[in-house]
């Protein structure tokens, strides 16, 4: 196995992007860092800058205001990186599908600037922390 991918699996640092979520998924993401789940066991760390990140945790269907920001954050993340769509809205815009302010789901916005982006989906409203850990493990085992 490539040493870059091997070490990426050992310490994925994540950056949290909210593109118009109702804050429900965000609370569940913060829940991952609490003593009950403690994802630092797997080397997962929440970082403050997209330049340090290996994975973007995107929550919420992408609004017209957030779309250019999401693209900019994705461009600022060094490769190799993985995009996680956390929650029903980020995966498929959910109940906001016909909203006037929605540009589209996260994967559509990201693929406009990088067709080869690695995108993983964790559906749920909000997804349970267990589901997120399972999603991250599955995504990292296929790359």
């Amino acid at each position: 196995m490539n040493w870059k991918i091997w070490s990426l699996k050992k310490s994925p640092w994540v950056f949290h992007v909210n593109t118009g979520a109702c804050n429900n998924c965000d609370i569940e993401i913060v829940n991952l860092l609490t003593p009950k789940f403690d994802v630092e066991r797997f080397g997962i760390k929440l970082v403050g800058s997209p330049r340090h990140a290996d994975a973007l945790l995107v929550t919420g269907g992408v609004t017209a205001q957030a779309a250019p920001r999401l693209r900019e954050v994705y461009r600022q993340t060094p490769r190799p990186c993985v995009v996680f769509c956390i929650g029903a809205c980020a995966c498929d815009t959910g109940i906001f599908r016909s909203g006037y302010h929605i540009v589209g789901p996260v994967d559509k916005v990201i693929k406009e600037i990088d067709p080869n982006a690695i995108i993983a989906y964790v559906p749920g409203c909000p997804p349970k922390p267990e589901a997120m850990i399972s999603g991250i493990v599955k995504a990292l085992s296929v790359i």
Partner: protein, 314 residues
């Protein structure tokens, strides 16, 4: 022919780069593990800091478009050079005390400032507004703790009859006196600020600046900064052990005792880190200049009196 090779071996492998990096990464694992235990978590595995550095080495290096590229890319190497020289010097003096030169404590004080200066240089060259705020905070922080740190070492120099070489200073333990204890406590807090740990992590400020000074660094350059921080975690507590607590031995029981002193300082630093909220920059400046300044002025007076009248406990 042999001597240059031997010097190169000292700098790159045994007491120098490789040894200090491995030691430092293990120390940074201890910091993360103990923090996790204090917060009732399990914490990362032993090799986690190694995985982090290897991963960062394999990532893409992004340089901001408007950055001063040469300064931005060379600043981490300047910091690395400073801390590498410092740690090699400290280990060499411990292993072979006859290699000392007069005034090496002053050289060590200069080398300790170098990583902070490199950090200021690199982040101000990155053309990012967040990093600019971080830079100004780091600059003010350096100005506030540097005075207290030098005053604390002056207390030690007075107590050792004006000796300026570390090997001689390391033979005694000034911490067993009132002035030495005051100086030790203040310099422990200064080391906390130098390492950028919590009550004084004003420049890195994850919550509002998004890791501030390091914000624009990615990939290999960030890995170099992580290695510099890990090496500082070895060099600075070790310097405190040598100056205040009577230094390391090289064989048997004195060596174990020296390691115990190092671990004691490390655990004190971690506990201060985990039990305090972050202070504002003006609070930090007031703390170091007013309160620590007064305590150290008192310590200097006590040390001079104690030295002149031969009272060793003052």
């Amino acid at each position: 022919m042999i001597e240059p090779l031997q010097n190169l071996f000292w700098i790159l492998i045994f007491p120098g780069f490789l040894f200090t990096v491995v030691f430092g990464l293990i120390a940074s694992w201890i910091v993360r593990k103990v923090s996790a235990l204090v917060q009732w978590r399990v914490g990362p595995p032993l090799l986690q800091p190694f995985y982090d550095v290897v991963k960062l080495m394999g990532k893409e290096i992004l340089v901001p478009q408007e950055a001063q590229k040469i300064i931005f890319m060379s600043a981490p190497l300047v910091g690395l050079a400073g801390v590498l020289l410092l740690s090699t010097m400290l280990w060499r003096i411990t292993i072979a005390p006859e290699t000392l030169f007069v005034g090496d404590i002053i050289v060590a004080i200069y080398l300790m400032v170098l990583p902070s200066l490199a950090l200021i240089l690199g982040s101000s060259a990155s053309a990012s507004p967040h990093a600019a705020i971080g830079t100004s905070r780091e600059m003010k922080l350096v100005m506030s703790y540097e005075l207290s740190l030098v005053l604390a070492f002056i207390v030690v120099i007075i107590k050792s009859d004006g000796q300026l070489n570390l090997a001689t200073i390391a033979k005694q333990a000034p911490v067993f006196s009132i002035s030495g204890l005051l100086a030790f406590l203040v310099s422990l807090l200064c080391v906390q600020a130098k390492l950028g740990f919590v009550p004084f992590d004003i420049a890195e400020a994850e919550t509002e600046l998004g890791s501030g000074v390091l914000m624009e660094y990615s990939g290999g350059l960030l890995a170099v900064w992580k290695v510099v921080q890990a090496m500082m975690l070895v060099a600075l507590p070790m310097f405190l052990v040598m100056v205040f607590l009577g230094g390391f031995g090289t064989t048997g029981l004195p060596l174990v005792w020296g390691i115990c002193k190092y671990v004691l300082i490390l655990v004190l630093i971690i506990l201060i880190k985990n039990t305090n909220p972050r202070v504002r920059i003006d609070q930090a400046m007031k703390f170091f200049w007013v309160y620590c300044g007064i305590a150290l002025a008192l310590a200097v007076v006590l040390a001079i009196i104690g030295n002149n009248f031969g009272i060793s406990w003052l």
